[in-house]
């Protein structure tokens, strides 16, 4: 279990306990957190679960698999701290993770 904090672009904060094994994307979808669409359902086939990860977490996250960076090229306003939240699998190590949700996904 990990506490994950999601900040929406209109400054709403959601702090949720997400079970280990789920993804950061699923944590948002299951808790109706707005702004993460996840059109492809977690297949790294779209870029609509794009989030900005708080800088200090960047190096603690699992590294990007082939393909994630390619999909991020398609994301709305990608930055250096951009990740696809479907690729971030929750574990105890992610306890306290903070992500910002972009103003839109496409």
């Amino acid at each position: 279990m990990a506490k994950i904090t999601y900040y929406t672009h209109d400054n709403k904060t959601y702090t949720i306990d997400v079970q280990n094994g789920l993804t950061v994307m699923e944590g948002a979808i299951q808790n109706d957190i707005p702004g993460i669409d996840a059109d492809c359902g977690g297949g790294m086939a779209c870029a609509t679960c794009h989030v900005y990860v708080k800088e200090e977490w960047l190096n603690k996250l699992p590294t990007k698999e082939d393909g994630e960076e390619d999909m991020l090229d398609m994301a709305f306003e990608p930055k250096n701290n951009s990740r696809l939240s479907c690729q971030l699998i929750v574990s105890d190590e992610l306890d306290g993770l903070e992500v910002n949700i972009p103003s839109k996904q496409g």
């Binding site: 669409d37 059109d39 492809c40 359902g41 297949g43 086939a45 779209c46 870029a47 609509t48 960076e69 390619d70 090229d73 398609m74 709305f76 306003e77 990608p78 250096n80 996904q105 496409g106």
Partner: protein, 338 residues
């Protein structure tokens, strides 16, 4: 006006198999899709990726699956209306009057929405001013490349479309290729070619830059691009092209009075009809308790929705359940000669 029994919206695997099921029970249909080819997400998102969970097919790619489905519906001569998006829907007595973006009109007894997660639209620049130039000097696809001759073109993106057009247009235009990082998702050979052209001074490659702003009077005159570190460059440009892939949008479906929940359409599980009678929804776009977004579920949903359409298309006839192994009628429809 095209008169047919059923209009299927979406030419993905679910829509294609639904056309098959309609054909088997003797109903005619046409298919509309916003893309330029059949296959939906299978073709647009993962044509080469193997799929492992199609029943009785241990492994096939999205492209193979699409081709097999097209083969399977061949006997029914289904008409495809590609590059068309359904815009308007009107009830006309017991039938539906449908109009597409390109002005094609249909008169149908029932509608099956097999629209996946919506129609594919190009992803656009996030810079606000870019809208002003869209369609005149800023494009997301190329229809007539001759307009670029001897002009300065700034191309944004790092996939195959961006690379291929940069290479092609560099023959006759001055090309700037701008991409947000050093890596590219396009084919290795194209990446090399672009780098070679850059070394030879035949195009200008800017990596780690993204669009900052576009400006001009009626047409684009200048583009500002911003480096990761904050530095801004101004480049003269007659045209701007953006190739950021496609995004799926529900579009006009939202206005049809359907019960929509989280970008999906609510249906019953008896025949996959929506809250509006005569409109069915199958595949990724439909939702019901226990819904799985699998292709195999879409096939099941399509088979039942096809039968649900029957009473609207042939209100005076009764549909009998038959197997293709033994039904003469079904075999005739399939064109099987014995």
């Amino acid at each position: 006006m095209n008169k047919t029994d059923v209009l299927i919206i979406g030419a993905g695997p679910t829509g294609l198999f639904c056309a098959h099921q309609l054909g088997i029970i003797g109903l005619s249909c046409e298919i509309v899709d916003n893309l330029d080819k059949a296959g939906g997400q299978c073709i647009e998102l993962y044509p080469d990726k193997p799929i492992y969970d199609i029943p009785a097919v241990p492994e096939c790619t999205g492209e193979e699956l699409t081709n097999n489905l097209l083969q399977q519906i061949k006997p029914f001569n289904v008409k495809f209306n590609l590059n068309e998006r359904v815009e308007e829907l009107k009830k006309n007595q017991n039938r539906w009057h449908v109009k597409t973006s390109g002005g094609v009109e249909f008169d149908v007894a029932a509608i099956v929405i097999a629209g996946g997660v919506g129609s594919f639209e190009p992803r656009k620049f996030s810079v606000k001013e870019s809208e002003k130039f869209e369609g005149n000097s800023l494009f997301y696809s190329i229809k007539d490349k001759s307009i670029f001759k001897d002009k300065t073109i700034s191309i944004f993106g790092g996939g195959d479309s961006a690379l291929d057009w940069a290479i092609e247009l560099s023959n006759t235009s001055k090309v700037n290729l701008i991409h947000r990082r050093d890596g590219f998702s396009g084919a290795e050979a194209s990446v090399q070619k672009v780098k070679d052209l850059n070394d030879q001074g035949k195009l200008n490659l800017f990596t780690k830059y993204q669009m900052d702003s576009v400006s001009g009077d009626k047409q684009i005159e200048t583009v500002k691009i911003k480096h990761d570190e904050g530095e801004i460059k101004e480049i003269k440009s007659d045209y701007v092209l953006g190739f950021f892939g496609l995004i799926m949008q529900l579009g006009p479906i939202l206005d049809w009075g359907l019960n929509i929940n989280k970008k999906t359409v609510e249906v019953n599980t008896e025949n996959f009809e929506t809250n509006v009678s005569g409109i069915f929804a199958i595949g990724d776009i439909c939702s019901y308790p226990g819904k799985l977004k699998l292709i195999l579920s879409g096939f099941h949903e399509g088979a039942l929705a096809a039968r649900g359409c029957f009473k609207y298309a042939k209100p005076d006839e009764k549909l009998r359940f038959e197997f293709t192994t033994t039904s003469k009628a079904a075999q005739e429809r399939l064109g099987i000669k014995k």
